[in-house]
């Protein structure tokens, strides 16, 4: 989706302002939202790509206005309803509907360390042939899907070089929509800064983007 989240290359978003001695969470509720996202992910009703896409669906003016954890909260509430962990009515009333079953949380304080240590690896040990190899010239496809994609707009249609084949990974563009993992090779592709931004850019500099087989074509 050509949304406002796809920000690479925009120039009017203001200065980068670093905060000295920044706390991990600025307000206690931010920590709760962070932790809720982690704990609820353990229900495996969605995946990381689906939750990213849910945040991308926040309307652009809201997306830019909201703080980071407000976006997380908004998307989490939508996921909870869409994936049927709670109903819209429950979200509105703040109380379980009469007769709704009581579940057992999949994560407890005791299992948090194991949950975090395990993570959610997305490298897949399946025999999928690589379409490209290191050193090969490629072009990022000029695609404009209306759903989730990890191919940023600024790289589309641009020529680059495969620097490294990372192996077989889950493909977020389908996984975000629960259309399967479609595992395929993931590459680091080097795009010269001048290819992306024109002659004004430094001749030495480059942007490396991780792209999958489905994002690339031979140049």
């Amino acid at each position: 989706m050509n949304g406002v989240h796809d920000m690479g290359g925009m120039q009017d978003m203001g200065p980068v302002q670093a905060e000295k001695n920044e706390p991990v969470f600025h307000e206690p509720w931010e920590g709760r939202v962070f932790a809720l996202n982690q704990a609820l992910g353990a229900w495996r009703k969605w995946n990381i790509d689906a939750s990213r896409h849910q945040r991308e669906l926040i309307p652009p003016a809201e997306y830019l206005r909201m703080s980071y954890y407000e976006k997380w909260l908004t998307a989490l509430m939508e996921l909870l309803v869409n994936r049927e962990l709670v109903t819209r009515a429950e979200l509105e009333s703040g109380r379980p509907e009469a007769g709704s079953p009581k579940a057992t949380p999949p994560v407890t304080a005791e299992t948090v360390p194991a949950l975090l240590a395990q993570g959610k690896p997305v490298r897949r040990d399946v025999p999928v042939a690589a379409r490209f190899k290191a050193g090969q010239h490629v072009r990022a496809r000029n695609i404009n899907p209306t759903g989730h994609t990890r191919l940023p707009r600024y790289a589309r249609g641009k020529a680059g070089t495969v620097e490294r084949d990372h192996g077989v990974f889950v493909f977020p563009d389908t996984n975000a929509h629960f259309l399967g993992e479609k595992p395929q090779h993931l590459y680091s592709v080097r795009f010269a800064a001048r290819e992306l931004w024109g002659k004004e850019a430094s001749a030495r500099d480059a942007v490396y983007v991780n792209l999958w087989d489905d994002h690339l074509e031979p140049a």
């Binding site: 920000m7 690479g8 290359g9 978003m13 980068v16 302002q17 670093a18 905060e19 920044e22 991990v24 600025h26 307000e27 509720w29 920590g31 709760r32 962070f34 932790a35 809720l36 982690q38 990213r52 896409h53 849910q54 945040r55 669906l57 309307p59 830019l64 954890y69 407000e70 309803v81 869409n82 962990l85 709670v86 819209r88 979200l91 703040g94 379980p96 009581k102 579940a103 994560v107 304080a109 948090v112 395990q118 690896p121 997305v122 759903g147 191919l151 940023p152 600024y154 990372h166 990974f169 931004w197 850019a201 430094s202 030495r204 500099d205 480059a206 942007v207 983007v209 991780n210 792209l211």
Partner: protein
Amino acid sequence: MKTSRRDFIANAGAAAPAMHDLAHAQESEHEHDHQVVPSDPALRVKSLESLLVEKGLVDPAALDALIDTYEHKIGPRNGARVVARAWVDPAYKKRLLADAEHAITELGFGGQQGEHMIVLENTPKVHNLVVCTLCSCYPWPLLGLPPVWYKSAGYRSRAVIDPRGVLREFGLELPQDVELRVHDSTAELRYLVLPERPAGSEKLNEEELTALVTRDAMIGVANVASPKPGGGA
């Protein structure tokens, strides 16, 4: 996802009245029921958490443990330990650059948001900078949760088109003969920059070196400064 943007707007709006009700109810107890209370995220989160706990979907003690972990146990010191080890142990550095995942596991780090790792080596001729233009991907096990500026629109947008300008705002003027490589974290592959070991640090031990390494240097928006004379690390 099947939710259209129109649905999303309608749905997002639908949740607001409940939040007002909750706030309203609380205000009523204090005889301020004439006031219109804005939908405060703190109240919305409180309402959501109590619903989820009541439904047995989350354990509040697990939430406490998750917050405690990222506030107190996981942070940039982990990444600094990896960097310092690479500086003092050439064999480790070689393993780290060839297979970061396993080399980082040797020091006991890994897991959530650091399942797959790449370490990028800065040299006198190459400087690496990490960004996530599409969201906020960041190597949690090594650096903790990202600072606000890393997640900001300003950084995400300009780090790819004007990286030297962004570095200048961080006080780093990169010489023109240094190649700048910007890495956009578009996949589940997290990056850690291995900064150059600063001049004057030759006599420091691994622990002292660890104390020199900053979060910003491991993102690539800074270099590691030389130790202060006489002050150690």
